[in-house]
Each structure stands twice: as structure tokens, then as C-alpha cells.
């Protein structure tokens, strides 16, 4: 029964597919948008770091994959709420999640880059956490999982 409560928002996709006219007023920015930007940036940084520091590619790869997972989940929900679907791109999810993202925090050494990423993950954990009490209930789990996922990543990195 509890799983059904999570599944119910998916029904909105059926109605959303039929949405036609854009509104004439400027839409409110989705409060999840900054979380998405941060997730994409972190994924891009970690991917760049995996290339720049091949000896640490596995670790940076895990960070990139985790934040790309966050980006995909957030982007899907933002698109759903806006009345569009995010299932149209033919490109793989990881490319979709990071396309156009800049890498902030790529430093000249592996340890400095890792330190930057840990700092960004802590910030992301906190920012997502702040939203948990305020978003509609069907979003609270998503945002909570993103926050907890960032905390898990910091722990795994020994931070």
C-alpha cells in the first residue's frame, strides 16, 4: 500500500502528455532546480577528474555516477511537474544529466579536487535537507534520498 502512494504521481504523465498551450505568465522556478544544477556540476567535475587523474578514475567515477543518478531523478521530477516528460532524449541518461554542465571544483591535484567535491557534497546534502520539510509530500522522499545519498558519498570518501 505504501508503495502505491509513491507510484501515484506517475499517473500525471498520462495527462501531462496532452498539455498544449504554454502559459503567458512567467512560470515559478522549480525549487528543485538548484539541486539539479549542483548535481550536474558535481557529475561533470567528477567525470573530468576521472580523466585528469586516471589513477583515481574508479573513485571519481563512483562520485560521477551517484550525482548523475541524482540529476536524472531530479530532472525527471522537474519535467513531470512542468507538464513535459524527460523520456524523449535519445542520448543516454548520463549524457542527458551532464550535458551542458560545467565542472566547478576541478583542481590541479587529485586531493584538492576530492576535497572540493566533498565540500560540494556536504553543501548539497544540506541544501536538499532544507527543502525536505517544505516540499509537497510526494517530493519529500526524492529530496530526502538525494540528501542522504550525498551524505553516503561523503562517508564513502572518508570525509
Amino acid at each position: 500500500m505504501l508503495r502505491a502512494l509513491v507510484a501515484i504521481p506517475a499517473l500525471g504523465l498520462l495527462a501531462a502528455a496532452c498539455t498544449s498551450q504554454p502559459t503567458t505568465t512567467t512560470p515559478e522556478p522549480d525549487p528543485l532546480a538548484p539541486l539539479l544544477t549542483a548535481a550536474r556540476t558535481d557529475a561533470a567535475t567528477a567525470q573530468a577528474a576521472a580523466t585528469a587523474f586516471p589513477g583515481y578514475a574508479a573513485t571519481f567515477g563512483v562520485v560521477a555516477a551517484l550525482r548523475a543518478t541524482h540529476a536524472t531523478a531530479l530532472a525527471t521530477e522537474i519535467a513531470r511537474a512542468a507538464g513535459t516528460t524527460s523520456s524523449t532524449p535519445a542520448t543516454p541518461a548520463s549524457t542527458t544529466a551532464t550535458s551542458g554542465a560545467t565542472s566547478a571544483g576541478l583542481a590541479s591535484t587529485e586531493s584538492a579536487t576530492m576535497s572540493n567535491l566533498i565540500s560540494r557534497l556536504r553543501t548539497a546534502q544540506s541544501q536538499a535537507g532544507t527543502l525536505v520539510p517544505t516540499v509537497p509530500s510526494y517530493r519529500a522522499g526524492l529530496v530526502g534520498s538525494v540528501s542522504a545519498g550525498c551524505a553516503s558519498m561523503v562517508e564513502a570518501l572518508g570525509g
Partner: protein, 152 residues
């Protein structure tokens, strides 16, 4: 005051209570097999945390006039706990089930205070699950989306 909690919130809290009972039981079994002091201290701290969460849920439910469902005498682990490594794997699994239950609490309440409590539990369990995975050599240790049944 009784009857303030919505029925779906109550259901979610009862499920979280079950997850906390299970974690307490699994951690209790783990104490016999996790002897190295660093690991044992962390186990002890985790046990304390789960007991505190159990007590908090019981108080919340009782305060609302709801009978907390009782603990079971034992809980099933997918594999037998026979050594330190299997104990850590079992505790990691118990944390992942607590994450699922607490995420459901977040999705079934509009009470900001309960959301904050639920988030604290979700994050804390994610960190503990990660630590047990790291110490038992499960890689990657990190969980991208704690609280989703597959964790991804």
C-alpha cells in the same frame, strides 16, 4: 491529544517502528561477532541510535492514542550471521530497510517536524549502511538514493 496523525502517517510510522525493532535485533546479534574495538564502538553507537528512534516512534504513536505494534521475538536475515563480515552485511541490510521505511514517513506526512525527524533517520541510516559496506569490503560503499528499495 489523540487522533492528530493521519492514517497514512500512522501506517508509515508503524512500518518504521518495525524497521527499528529489526535493526535493534540485528545489531544485538552483531555484538557477538563484531569484537574489534573500533567496529564494536560503532555498533554500540548504532544500537543506541536505533533504540532512541524506537522510543521516539512509540512515544509519538502512544501520544496520539495509537498502540505501537509489538516487536517480534526474532527477525529473518537473508544469510546466517556467523562471523564479523556476515554481521556487518546484516547490519547494512537492516539500515537499508530502515531507509526505505523512513523515506515512506517523509512521503506520508505534511508535518515539518516529523519530516525533519524522518530526514535525520534516513541520513543517519545511509551513513551507517555505507560504513558497514566499507568495512565489509562491499564496493561501491556509497548508496546513490537511500530509501529507494534498490538504493539507486
Amino acid at each position: 491529544m489523540s487522533g492528530q496523525l493521519a492514517s497514512n502517517t500512522i501506517s508509515a510510522l508503524q512500518n518504521a517502528l518495525t524497521a527499528e525493532y529489526a535493526a535493534i535485533w540485528v545489531y544485538g546479534v552483531g555484538t557477538a561477532f563484531v569484537q574489534t574495538s573500533t567496529y564494536a564502538n560503532y555498533l554500540s553507537a548504532g544500537l543506541t541510535e536505533h533504540v532512541a528512534r524506537r522510543d521516539a516512534i512509540e512515544k509519538l504513536l502512544s501520544g496520539d492514542g495509537v498502540t505501537p505494534q509489538p516487536a517480534q521475538p526474532a527477525y529473518l536475515t537473508p544469510q546466517p550471521v556467523t562471523n564479523s563480515s556476515s554481521a556487518m552485511t546484516a547490519m547494512a541490510l537492516a539500515e537499508s530497510e530502515a531507509e526505505v521505511a523512513w523515506r515512506a514517513v517523509l512521503e506520508n506526512t505534511d508535518d515539518a517536524s516529523l519530516r525533519v525527524t524522518g530526514l535525520g533517520a534516513l541520513v543517519d541510516s545511509a551513513v551507517r549502511q555505507t560504513r558497514w559496506r566499507r568495512w565489509s569490503g562491499q564496493s561501491p560503499a556509497s548508496i546513490p538514493m537511500p530509501g529507494l528499495p534498490t538504493g539507486t
